[in-house]
């Protein structure tokens, strides 16, 4: 079983992607992904990103593997309504697929994470976790009129330190940033990182050797990236046929998710 913490549906304005929810589900299903935590790509460029959460809720209603991760933006005056919607969403056909996590896109709104204090406190009260996205696109590849800098992953780690009761996932950060936060990831029980944008020779092996195996969450970054790459990095780096390797791979693919989604 594989749980994907970094998946999106919808369109991306500067690059054609296959973001139809059914296509996303079918593509990931081919790789054994059976639980897809999904946000709307279109939230990034919508001046009220909450409007795009409806696409995610509708997909969760009808598609068995899609679990909703709504985007919340603390600079939208009515963010509390969006949070209420997240808290009370129960898909009729799949009642177990309530919202466990919300996603923040601070660099796209944009806002400083210090403006999210009230929202983050509310998430703690609501017992919801948060994915704070550091990157959706390599800045070198962005449209010149739509340049969005990366969010330093250290700022996400600081949120986890400030709110120890909040489960915090560093979304879409690169290998170097994860390695630089090795101490925080190991010391803060509520801090995790998805591996959707890590890269480099033997990168998963390197992160595991850094002692981070219990803090890594699988993410494909579909539909912008092909999920084959994310799956292959884990399997090629770790699978030596031994039971220990299988156990390690299982942690990243789904085991660690259990501590977040329970």
């Amino acid at each position: 079983m594989i749980i994907d913490f970094c998946a999106f549906i919808g369109n991306w304005p500067t690059y054609p992607v296959s973001g139809d929810p059914e296509v996303v589900q079918d593509t990931l299903s081919n790789y054994g992904v059976s639980q897809i935590l999904v946000s709307s790509l279109e939230s990034a460029w919508c001046r009220n990103p909450h409007r795009c959460n409806d696409l995610v809720y509708r997909a969760a209603e009808t598609l068995a593997d899609i679990w909703p991760v709504p985007i919340l933006d603390p600079t939208i005056a009515t963010w509390k309504s969006a949070l209420h919607q997240a808290r009370t969403f129960v898909p009729e056909l799949h009642p177990q697929k309530r919202v466990h996590l919300v996603r923040l896109l601070p660099t796209y709104s944009p806002y400083d994470l210090s403006q999210a204090d009230e929202l983050l406190k509310s998430l703690v009260e609501a017992k919801l976790g948060v994915i704070i996205q550091t990157r959706l696109e390599d800045p070198r590849r962005q449209h010149p009129l739509a340049q969005v800098p990366d969010l330093p992953a250290g700022e996400v780690a600081a949120v986890a330190e400030q709110y120890p009761a909040l489960k915090v996932i560093i979304g879409g950060t690169r290998t170097g940033e994860i390695r630089n936060l090795q101490r925080q990831l190991m010391d803060q029980p509520n801090l995790y990182a998805d591996i959707s944008q890590v890269d480099g020779l033997d990168v998963i092996k390197v992160l595991v050797n850094d002692g981070l195996v219990d803090k890594l969450l699988f993410g494909s970054h579909i539909p912008i990236f092909t999920p084959h790459a994310a799956i292959a990095r884990v399997v090629c780096d770790l699978d030596d046929g031994t039971p220990n390797a299988v156990a390690t791979i299982s942690k990243i693919f789904s085991g660690n998710a259990g501590r977040i989604l329970d």
Partner: protein
């Protein structure tokens, strides 16, 4: 010195490492001398150009002429960086200019995911340029778009190792819905045709 390191790798495993000779077009005559040493005498398989000078620079001409003379391909780095190319970093349109000035040369332009959708159009009408798939993230659809724009014979696999993970870069090709024969062309056959005749 870097070329001697590459030659040593070839000595270690000649059937795995096919080194290319790196030269700096800021020093065209020295570059030609080094190509004579590394390619002419030591049988390196091609020439590598990086970011010393853009491909539009006339300093590249002696290098390309030597490549044609020795029947080896030239691997030319290129990228379109929204954040700004380095001063000597070529754009795909620069590589098209180079290819049009040297129509007998076989040019491999590196980094499909770096040159992107616009870069493919820049080189579409330069039949002596192939693009390699190395580098950049495993963006979905790019290899298919390259095949559609350039033709299946003008795309070659590249890994950008060790900067990028082998399996992630292979995924760009293996995960496509392209026919198996096209994947084989990208992963092997097309590159084999670009290498010098004596190596085939």
């Amino acid at each position: 010195m870097a070329n001697d390191y590459a030659l040593a790798m070839q000595d270690m495993a000649a059937d795995i490492f096919l080194p290319f000779c790196y030269v700096n077009p800021m020093y065209p005559q020295e570059a030609v001398t080094e190509i004579d040493r590394c390619v002419g005498k030591k049988r390196m398989y091609g020439i590598k150009l990086w970011v010393a000078r853009r491909a539009t620079d006339p300093g590249l001409s002696p290098i390309l002429e030597k490549a044609v003379e020795l029947d080896v391909p030239v691997l030319q780095h290129a990228w379109i960086k929204t954040t700004g190319n380095l001063p000597g970093e070529s754009f795909p349109s620069d590589v098209a200019d180079l290819a049009n000035r040297h129509p007998q040369a076989r040019i491999i332009m590196a980094h499909l995911n770096g040159i992107g959708l616009r870069g493919l159009e820049d080189i579409a009408d330069s039949p002596n340029i192939s693009v390699d798939t190395s580098g950049g993230d495993a963006e979905s659809g790019m290899v298919e778009t390259a095949v559609k724009t350039l033709g299946a014979k003008r795309v070659v696999f590249g890994s950008d190792a060790p900067i990028r993970h082998f399996s992630g870069q292979l995924a760009k090709v293996l995960a496509t819905d392209l026919p198996e024969t096209v994947k084989q062309d990208i992963l092997w056959n097309n590159a084999a045709q670009l290498l010098p005749k004596w190596s085939r």
